[in-house]
Symmetry: C2
Subunit: 231 residues, 2 copies
């Protein structure tokens, strides 16, 4: 990732600015989905049973299908998909490098956390998006039957296994921490995150970012509790 | 894989025997596609460009879609997909363990060889299958636009690169050799391969297998020559 700050898109007028935000949003989503696909499908091979391999494979493939959906939107806007993804590659790669699952359970938990945190994030920005973009984002989040699958699998594994529970609680905290660190890095380098969250006044950026992060953390704790974990 | 020989399905009458052959065929296809998906999607991450990553990702996902198609057929027949795949796991895993690509080009070549050799194999058995099964096999082979993609990418890479050409020629030979070794192992342990190839008379097995393998090798040489390689 370039360390240069992006010139403020607001200088170009509100329509062009919104277009640039959408390109950034799609770019980060596209690269996020593509790399999630690669990581989960690599992990699938270590699943304990053939049935788990098939299920985690499906989960990975759904990520790839989302990547294709977002790529198609970028292409429709006349934007080069590779160029749109490039600014987010370093942060997302860093997230994955720093959170390599040590086993199958950590891989499940990573998929679970990534899915639920990105779901929270999309919900937070949805009201700021134009209807077309909102529909694309909603389409991606709606076929998340995978969250239900992951919840079931994790609950089964955790049932009566105190040691695994405390290991996965710790792992979950680390995942959220790393995700927020990289999200913050993206938010500082690219203006879109802040703009989509709607801070138009000076000084609002810090407050809104802090609120969003507090929300994400709170939601994470709630979900960990639902799994019987202390987050 | 169990080292026991399977009881001859012919003892159970021709219809039951054909059913068992189809289950075996789908089982080997399903596990082949599932593991190809996992391997290619893991390799995708090492692609030189984001565009290549997306293209190899699509190729991997197509394998997974084939796995789902074959799984659905097995389920329709009332067969447990995991049970149908299990007998082929050891041979196919061994093939992959013995042919780990050293880089991106070897990964491309592996996809190319696996696709074209399995295509040859499916063509060889197609006339022996019932219409329903033949249609499933044809559907899987027809959306192989990926062979065209792989041919283009490999030709581009090989253009004027003598060193890569001789490395990939050697690698291609090794891939075919390993594929035939594992196919032979499957053919010996499971009766279906021979039966689908139609040797009803004693002694025909060796001849037909030898002919098929000679065909596969010849086709491989022809394709390597088309890429400008000496096979």
């Amino acid at each position: 990732m370039s360390t240069e700050q992006q010139p403020s898109p607001l200088a170009a007028g509100p329509e062009e600015a919104h277009r640039q935000y959408v390109i950034d949003l799609y770019g980060v989503m596209a690269y996020g989905e593509l790399s999630a696909f690669e990581r989960f499908s690599s992990d699938a091979r270590f699943s304990p049973t053939l049935r788990d391999r098939a299920e985690i494979g499906r989960l990975a493939v759904t990520e790839f299908e989302h990547f294709e959906l977002v790529s198609a939107e970028l292409a429709r806007m006349g934007v080069d998909v590779q160029a749109a993804m490039a600014p987010f590659q370093a942060s997302i790669d860093a997230f994955h490098e720093r959170t390599r699952p040590g086993d199958w359970y950590e891989s499940l938990m990573k998929a679970y956390v990534a899915d639920s945190v990105s779901g929270d994030f999309y919900r937070a920005i949805a009201s700021r998006l134009d209807p077309q973009t909102r529909a694309v984002v909603a389409r991606i989040k709606e076929n998340d039957g995978q969250l239900a699958l992951l919840t079931t699998r994790l609950s089964q594994a955790l049932e009566g296994n105190e040691r695994l529970a405390s290991r996965l609680a710790l792992w979950g905290r680390r995942l959220v921490g790393e995700a927020l660190t990289q999200a913050q890095r993206i938010g500082i380098e690219r203006a879109f995150l802040g703009a989509l969250l709607g801070f138009d006044e000076p000084g609002a950026q810090e407050t809104v970012t802090a609120e969003l992060f507090a929300d994400l953390t709170r939601n994470h704790s709630r979900r960990m509790n639902a799994l019987g974990l202390t987050a």
